[in-house]
């Protein structure tokens, strides 16, 4: 069976493209880093990942400029065909600023606003736990319902917010809330430190209605191998986090 081929999109200022590509390959897919100004035909790829970093130095606000980059029109078109698009951290900010997530109206419906944290203003690094609360979708089909993952976060603007008071209820109804921050027993809480950034309803990841485009703030690609996880063995054994990428592979192969 042909391995899915993933474009790891690179905007000036990204810094997680290499480990993202390693995660793609560790999950049994092919891939390459594709620059924002590529002449390649993006429709030849089976899926897309917008990695973390500071696209365009976060000028204006995180993800704002990259969201308006012409290459995002091509990705929007491919997402419309049902191909999977994953935005991690800064990539999530880009997807929110394009409106592709949550994607219910033809406009930007949410923001990833500056963190609210009782101790530290601005950029914040820590390890969190997130619970798979969504349906078996493009990025969760290899995960168990309510399964808890242990992941790092590193961001200054990771608080999912919206001014549309009815939107969160709609997202719940549509199963578009995919991961929520939780404690080690899987109990969801929007209180610090379980939710590290003040995110509405402890949201860590949201998808579009079809489930093929997901914006996730924590970094699964930074915790794919045991050696990347604190207090774990220094081995290349894969962690459960690889299953986000394996889900992407399964989704493509089933299409």
């Amino acid at each position: 069976m042909k391995k899915p081929n993933i474009a790891v999109m690179y905007f000036p200022g990204n810094n997680c493209e290499t480990e993202t590509l390693k995660a793609v390959k560790a999950a049994g897919m092919n891939g390459m880093i594709v620059r924002w100004n590529t002449k390649l035909n993006l429709s030849e790829f089976d899926g897309y990942i917008i990695p973390g970093g500071w696209a365009y130095e976060d000028r204006i606000r995180a993800g704002a400029i990259a969201a308006k980059d012409p290459v995002m029109n091509a990705i929007r078109k491919e997402a419309g065909k049902g191909k999977p698009v994953l935005g991690i951290c800064n990539g999530a900010q880009v997807l929110i600023e394009t409106g592709l997530v949550p994607g219910l109206k033809d406009k930007v419906e949410m923001a990833l606003a500056p963190n609210i944290n009782p101790f530290i203003s601005g950029y914040y690094n820590t390890w969190v736990r997130v619970k798979n609360v969504g349906r078996k979708g493009a990025f969760t089909n290899a995960l168990g319902k309510d399964e808890v993952l242990h992941l790092p976060i590193a961001h200054g603007e990771g608080r999912f917010v919206t001014r549309d008071k009815s939107l969160i209820k709609t997202l719940e109804k549509n199963n578009q809330i995919i991961f929520q921050y939780c404690d080690e027993n899987g109990k969801v809480s929007d209180k610090f430190p379980i939710t590290p950034n003040g995110s509405t309803m402890a949201i860590a990841a949201i998808s579009n209605k079809k489930g093929n485009v997901m914006a996730i703030m924590p970094h699964p690609e930074r915790a794919i191998f045991e050696r990347q996880v604190p207090y774990s063995a220094k081995t290349d054994k894969k962690t459960d986090n690889i299953r986000i990428f394996e889900s992407m592979k399964n989704y493509i192969l089933k299409k």
Binding site: Y56, E57, R59, I60, R61, A64, I65, K68, P70, E97, V108, E109, M110, A111, A113, P114, I116, S121, G122, V161, T162, R163, D164
Partner: protein, 147 residues
């Protein structure tokens, strides 16, 4: 209570404003002829205004004389000035300033002032449309048009 508004801009080319301008051009806003940006601060404080303004402009975290220019108030021109601010305020700025000895501060807020030079019949409306399309995210920010 006395208040003062501080505007801080770069002496060197402002990469953020240049990038925003090019992005807006690409998005089709040909009526935008020039775009400038300033950091905006508003303070409420007790005591003498001149003394406060002298202190705040020398406190080093808001203005670095090597690369910044600043003014209290804005000069008049043909542009449309729009201030973008986060809806939720945090206390980071006021706490930092107080820790640096600015004890008379009662309230501090910050934002970004965008100065849009627009060639259009209705400059204000066009500038607002431009701001909403890129310069702000209405889900956590608000806009105030100064003129």
């Amino acid at each position: 209570m006395t208040s003062s508004e501080l505007f801080v801009s770069l002496k060197v080319p402002d990469n953020i404003a240049i990038t925003a301008f090019h992005a807006l051009e690409r998005m089709g806003f040909s009526s935008l002829k020039r775009l400038e940006r300033k950091d905006y601060y508003k303070f409420e404080f007790s005591g003498d205004k001149k003394n406060f303004e002298n202190k705040i402009s020398n406190v080093d975290i808001l203005v670095n004389a090597n690369k910044h220019m600043f003014s209290f108030g804005l000069e008049k021109n043909d542009a449309v000035d729009i201030i973008i601010q986060d809806i939720e305020k945090n206390n980071g700025l006021i706490n930092s300033l107080k820790s640096l000895g600015m004890k008379s501060i009662k309230k501090a807020e910050r934002g970004t002032l965008w100065r849009l030079y627009v060639d259009a019949q209705d400059k204000k409306k066009t500038a607002e449309q431009i701001a909403k399309s890129l310069l702000m995210n209405e889900n956590y920010q608000v806009m105030r048009v100064l003129k």
